[in-house]
């Protein structure tokens, strides 16, 4: 049927099917800013303005738009023009992955069309319909208010961020070597910390950086703000087929037979694949370095299913509708098997054996569903516990939660003109995907190209080869391009999630509260497959046993199979589970000892110069000894504590509200310590080449998943090369073009990939100096590269453009370019402090988080705006982890929370106030003193809230999420 409507102020006709959604019709017509995030209107990514109102288009028929006015983000500003709202969002750091940005911008327009002077509350209401998993909404709200000022015609000042003083030398000689000396480094606005800084011996030091430390706008912000075709699905290919996946309705079953004849006979169906059709190649789907950690317990399609949502078959057809119709015609003969969902039941004799296949590799004890075990110890824990003056033991439990990136898993596979398979995919690990998929599909790595466009959020969920193998099998079977995308429901049933843990801590202390022994015993539920299980667990052990100084530590863990959807990587990677337990435990001990919880922690916490004993026995890539070389924890506690007005914790009356007798107020805190990269394992690399105009191409394998890593790496290159960021053109994550990088995980990109970029830029800078010396008839001695110009000590100079022309066209022609790789045996931990202010309704148990403050020492923040954005977004995710999010199941193992409305991630209109602070230190092993910031923010909200609930009510919640009913029950039990 033909519909006529005004689309972006132009009369438009579209031919649509009666059943077609407006979302599909608009995307089919090339309006890529309208995004698919769910099918139930609950995420808002698909929103447009219809007659001036924000509406989700996934739950509207296209036909309903007939006669209406529709505005998409493409209609805000044409060509290279920028609408003031887009400008405000770009400047305020409101854009991370950018997937929900077009909808947020339209929501802002709808508000500002009605209200010139919006309040913060109105801004929160306006952004309420658009779920964002990246930002925590803080920067987008600033974007709304900034946009309002622009539209009122006001002068809007630039963001006020001070330059970061970095004691680094920008000279040509041995920039990374030289004597090491003690130096007092005064971070802006903070107290002095003593750091060990490496400085070069010569030349004029630049006391502040120019690009590093500046709140540069993201290099991808404009295209994201304008809703341009930047994501995996924002394209189509001639002859492209649409794939759909059949999943198991049973938690545990053997497939006696599959009859696909009816499905294959359906007109438009081009391929139906089951375990009968693809080679049986054992693998592990986690996107990790070679060789993937064992167990290898998966195959692309199996004759056994191990959870509700497990793969059964996959179909490619001319349309998605036909593909889904074909799924209904596949006849599966299941032999339903007993299932087990509790890891402690799963390891018992007689429990159903989940992996009884003979060809799995590296399962520790398949008969007892034990995927792997870890035992790591330093010192003599038993002796220290036995001799301790005081002993404590507590058990904590954490739940399974889902990454909930707004962009679902999506990939498009096709043969290129050279018969090489191109995999365009939303992945955090393009190089791992290329390596891992090769044996599954029977192609050499050399015939596979993986391209990662912009990603609509990852958070670990896309550190996985989750769907690429199925799409590739279909392309190989049909010879045609294939698009495979998860529905939102499949994101919950068939994607990855966070491992649930049961953690028991035992501690031995002296009477005055000094830790003598600390033991952490963990049972990790790895679901139906072992992917990421052992490495997440090792990180949990590291995180749980690193923060506090103790020579006698032990980690004893079992990683256990159950018939549940498979956990994997999720921001924090074992850290949030461990820190909920650890920081609750520390709080409990402090209160038992009648000590101030902060004082108790500070009496035991690791400090500058301390080693981390457990790192000698445990590590994701193997044990690597670690020493703390930068440490800003004390100031973090001070900054975040002051921001929440921690002093109120000492006022017993503050807990009560005379106007609301059912309310108790509470404050809680947690100390944070995370890791930076996997020492000795993670590697990144970079290529930089100089162009005619003195600009540079920076090619990196590093994967920007919305965090801003392209921008940060560009800033490191720009700083080193003395150019503005605009002169660095960043291209990332294309296995044919960019050099290797392990990908975006383990808080490694700034540190590892940034280290590679800095090395690479330094090499290029040296070549520039040599060329300048040639041009000026001098030596490189004493040259300075700054403001796009090389200057000699006697004041002569040449511009980078002149150097480029000379090198490319004039004499001794040479492409100035370099490549560099970087790995590190250091994994410098960022430190931080998380505080929470909450209210507990003692009649209903409802916990309302009023305010969250966090301060983090991430070394030098390369870009303070994106760094703060990482913290704010992580805190928002952590809030859901603390109080509401949980993958819930029925008795048959079928997930109940299959849509955003039921799973519920926090929206802008219900967020507590978040304040995030950076406490700069100088990490000597990091580029320009940087260490990680991407994950640490997710570690502390749950324990801080649990500790605040204790402060408010005297009840201790040892399992999360802290749902109203749990608090209510605990309150009743305590009476």
């Amino acid at each position: 049927m033909l519909i006529r409507f005004e689309l972006n102020k132009k009369q438009t006709e579209l031919e649509v099917a009666a059943s077609e959604t407006l979302l599909d019709a608009l995307r089919k017509a090339g309006f890529w800013s309208v995004k698919h995030g769910c099918e139930t209107g609950e995420c808002g990514a698909c929103s447009v303005l219809m007659d001036g109102k924000l509406i989700p288009t996934c739950i509207m028929l296209a036909a309903q738009a007939d006669g209406h006015e529709i505005l998409t983000t493409e209609g805000l500003a044409e060509g290279q023009d920028i609408h003031p709202i887009q400008k405000a969002f770009i400047e305020s750091g409101a854009i991370q992955c950018g997937y929900c940005t077009p909808a947020m911008i339209l929501a802002t327009k709808a508000l500002l069309d009605k209200e010139k002077y919006p309040s913060l509350e109105q801004a929160r209401e306006a952004l309420g319909p658009t779920l964002c998993r990246c930002t925590g909404y803080v920067r987008p709200l600033e974007g709304v208010l900034r946009a309002a000022a622009y539209l009122r015609g006001e002068e809007v000042p630039p963001l006020n961020v001070k330059p970061i003083p970095v004691e680094a030398v920008f000279g040509p000689i041995s920039p990374a070597s030289g004597p090491t000396e003690e130096s007092g480094f005064e971070p802006s606005g903070g107290v002095a910390t003593t750091t060990r800084i490496t400085t070069a011996p010569t030349l004029t030091a630049q006391d502040t950086t120019v690009v590093v430390g500046a709140p540069e706008t993201k290099v991808d912000a404009v295209k994201l703000a304008k809703g341009r075709a930047a994501f995996t699905d924002d394209m189509t290919r001639p002859g492209m087929l649409y794939a759909a996946m059949l999943t198991s309705p049973y938690a545990h079953a053997r497939i006696r037979n599959i009859d696909t004849s009816k499905a294959r006979a359906l007109p438009g169906v081009r391929a139906v694949l089951t375990y009968k059709d693809v080679p049986r190649v054992i693998y592990a789907s986690g996107g990790q370095s070679y060789p993937n950690p064992k167990p290898w317990d998966q195959v692309s399609l199996d004759n056994k299913v191990r959870f509700v949502g497990d793969r059964v078959a996959v179909v490619a057809a001319d349309t998605l509708e036909i593909a889904k119709e074909a799924l209904k015609l596949i006849e599966v003969d299941y032999e339903v098997l007993p299932a087990v969902f509790d890891p402690e039941e799963s390891i018992k004799d007689g429990a159903p054996v989940i992996h009884d296949e003979p060809d799995a590799v590296g399962i520790y004890d398949a008969q007892h569903n034990i995927s792997a075990t870890i035992l790591a110890q330093t010192g003599d824990v038993d002796k220290a516990l036995a001799e301790a003056e005081i002993r404590f033991e507590r058990t904590y439990r954490t739940q399974q939660v889902q990454q909930s990136s707004i962009e679902p898993h999506i990939c498009i596979t096709y043969w290129d003109e050279d018969d090489r398979l191109v995999i365009r995919t939303s992945t955090q690990v393009p190089y791992h995907v290329r390596r891992m998929i090769a044996p599954l599909i029977g192609l050499p790595v050399s015939r596979i190209r993986v391209v990662k466009p912009r990603i609509g959020g990852g958070f670990g969920g896309k550190q996985e080869m989750l769907i690429e193998d199925l799409a590739a099998h279909l392309t190989i079977a049909t010879g045609r391009p294939v698009r495979l995308e998860y529905t939102r429901e499949q994101e919950f049933t068939s994607a990855r999630s966070r491992h649930p843990f049961k953690i028991t801590f035992r501690a031995g202390l002296t009477k005055d509260g000094k830790l003598q022994a600390l033991e952490m015993v963990a049972i990790e539920d790895t679901g139906a497959y072992g992917v990421h299980g052992v490495t997440v667990c090792s990180v949990a052990g590291l995180r749980g046993l690193s923060t506090y100084k103790c020579e006698n530590v032990r980690f004893d863990a079992k990683i256990v199979y159950t018939n549940k959807p498979v956990p994997g990587a999720f921001r924090g990677y074992g850290g949030p589970q461990a820190l909920f337990a650890l920081e609750s435990f520390m709080d409990e001990i402090a209160h038992e000892l009648k000590m101030d919880p902060i004082e108790f922690r500070m009496n035991n916490v690791v400090r500058l110069g301390d080693s981390i004993p457990i790192a000698t026995a445990l590590g994701e890539g193997g044990p690597v000894p670690q020493v703390i070389r930068s440490w800003g924890l004390a100031e973090c506690i001070e900054r975040a504590g002051n921001a929440i007005n921690w002093e109120r914790v000492k006022d017993p009356q503050w807990r009560f509200d005379p106007e609301r007798p059912n309310i108790r107020r509470g404050l809680g805190m947690a100390v944070l310590m995370h890791g930076t990269a996997i020492p000795g394992l993670d590697m990144g690399s970079a290529v930089i080449k100089m162009n005619d105009d003195g600009s540079f191409n920076l090619l990196v394998g590093a994967t920007d998943i919305g965090t801003g890593s392209d921008t940060i790496l560009g800033q490191i290159a720009a700083e080193t090369l003395g150019v503005p960021l605009s002169k660095v053109i960043v291209y990332s994550s294309d296995t044919d073009v960019t050099p290797f990088d392990v990908g975006a995980y383990a808080s490694s990109t700034t540190f590892i990939s940034g280290g590679a970029v800095k090395k690479c830029a330094e090499d290029v800078r040296n070549q520039i100096f040599e060329r300048a010396a040639l041009m000026l008839g001098t030596t490189t001695e004493g040259m300075i590269l700054r403001n796009e110009r090389v200057t000699t000590p006697d004041g002569r100079s040449v511009t980078l453009e002149e150097i480029a022309h000379h090198s490319l066209h004039t004499k001794d022609q040479q492409q100035i370019m370099a490549t560099a790789s970087h790995m590190s045996l250091q994994a410098p931990p960022p430190f931080g402090a998380q505080f929470a202010e909450i209210e507990v309704d003692i009649e209903t148990g409802q916990v309302t988080v009023k305010k969250l403050t966090i301060a983090v020492d991430c070394g030098t923040p390369i870009n303070p705006l994106t760094a703060v954005g990482q913290l704010e977004g992580a805190v928002a995710q952590a809030l859901g982890y603390a109080v509401s999010e949980e993958m819930a199941y029925d008795q048959s193992g079928s997930i109940q929370t299959r849509r955003f409305g039921d799973y519920h991630i926090f929206s802008a209109d219900e967020m507590p106030e978040i304040q995030a602070f950076l406490v700069p230190t100088y990490e000597p092993s990091g580029p320009y003193g940087a260490k990680a910031v991407g994950e640490i923010g997710i570690d502390g909200v749950a324990p801080a809230v649990a500790n605040a609930v204790y402060h408010a009510t005297g009840i201790r919640l040892r399992d999360i999420p802290i749902l109203p009913e749990k608090v209510w029950r605990a309150l009743h039990q305590s009476r």
Partner: protein
């Protein structure tokens, strides 16, 4: 895959009745609730868009407030009368029902067609003794909201359309109480009470609860215990006990049956006290 093969947007009631009343074709109006199913799961073969029938309105007269059935939930949030009258419970209930975007497409008819995400809106209608108007061509009939909700989709015969909801004015006082995982999450349990008082005597009481039974409903035993009684703390406690006792909740991931039953009582107590205080204030 959606079953929809045809789409109609009738211009008048006669056409609407004809299309909706066609035998042998699975025909239904497009009604979006605050917790909508994906379009591919809509099971009608013919989708009927009623937007040309002029059902998007809010009118006020001496009978009360008339809400056109295709009035969006957001309109309830935005229309001042719902903030100023009925002690603001319609505004609050509508705001709790969904995000702003969904509220812009979800209609009152959609809400009453699928109560799964709009328990609090249903409570406000139950507590206010709302009446629904059902129309087929020129024929109109009415039904009290409680009966309409109790009978569900069976209410409408072929060709009939829910056309309007009327909320009568009242001198009484309303109060809404809820508990949820987060401020914007769907309620675990919510209670709306209405009290008409003569001095301290309760002459009329309505107590409607969601999350404590398979669908939002009035708790008649609680109402009977309250009516013709002097308002007192012991009466409130008694009402709360009855609410807990009468609750027949279904537990889920938001809260167990036991918790829901307890909250039915707790929130009933709170709502009654709040209403009393509002009256006093």
């Amino acid at each position: 895959m959606s079953a929809i093969k045809e789409y109609y947007r009738p211009e008048d009631w006669k056409s609407a009745a004809e299309i909706l009343g066609r035998p042998g074709v699975k025909t239904a109006p497009i009604l979006v609730s605050t917790k909508p199913s994906p379009v591919e799961k809509w099971d009608m073969e013919t989708a009927v868009d009623l937007s040309r029938l002029g059902l998007d309105y809010i009118k006020e007269d001496e009978q009360g407030i008339h809400i056109g059935a295709l009035t969006t939930v957001q309109t309830l949030v935005d229309t001042p009368i719902f903030s100023t009258k009925f002690n603001g419970i319609f505004h609050l209930a509508a705001k709790h029902a969904a995000t702003g975007g969904l509220r812009n497409v979800a209609t009152m008819a959609g809400v009453l067609n699928d109560l799964s995400g709009s328990g609090e809106i249903a409570l406000t209608l139950l507590a206010s003794d709302a009446v629904v108007y059902i129309r087929k061509d020129q024929s109109i009939r009415t039904q009290p909201i409680a009966g309409f909700l109790a009978e569900g989709k069976q209410n409408l015969t072929a060709g009939e359309v829910l056309a309007e909801i009327r909320i009568p004015f009242s001198d009484g006082v309303f109060a809404l109480e809820r508990v949820a995982r987060t401020p914007a999450d769907q309620e675990i349990v919510a209670v709306v009470v209405f009290l008409l008082l003569s001095g301290s005597q309760i002459t009329k009481a309505r107590v409607a609860i969601s999350g404590a039974s398979p669908q939002p409903m009035r708790f008649l035993a609680v109402e009977q215990a309250l009516e013709k009684q002097e308002f007192s703390s012991s009466l409130v406690e008694k009402a709360a006990e009855i609410a807990t006792r009468e609750a027949k909740p279904i537990g889920d991931f938001r809260g167990s049956a036991e918790y829901r039953a307890a909250m039915a009582g707790t929130l009933t107590r709170r709502a009654l006290l709040k209403a009393w205080n509002l009256k006093a204030g």
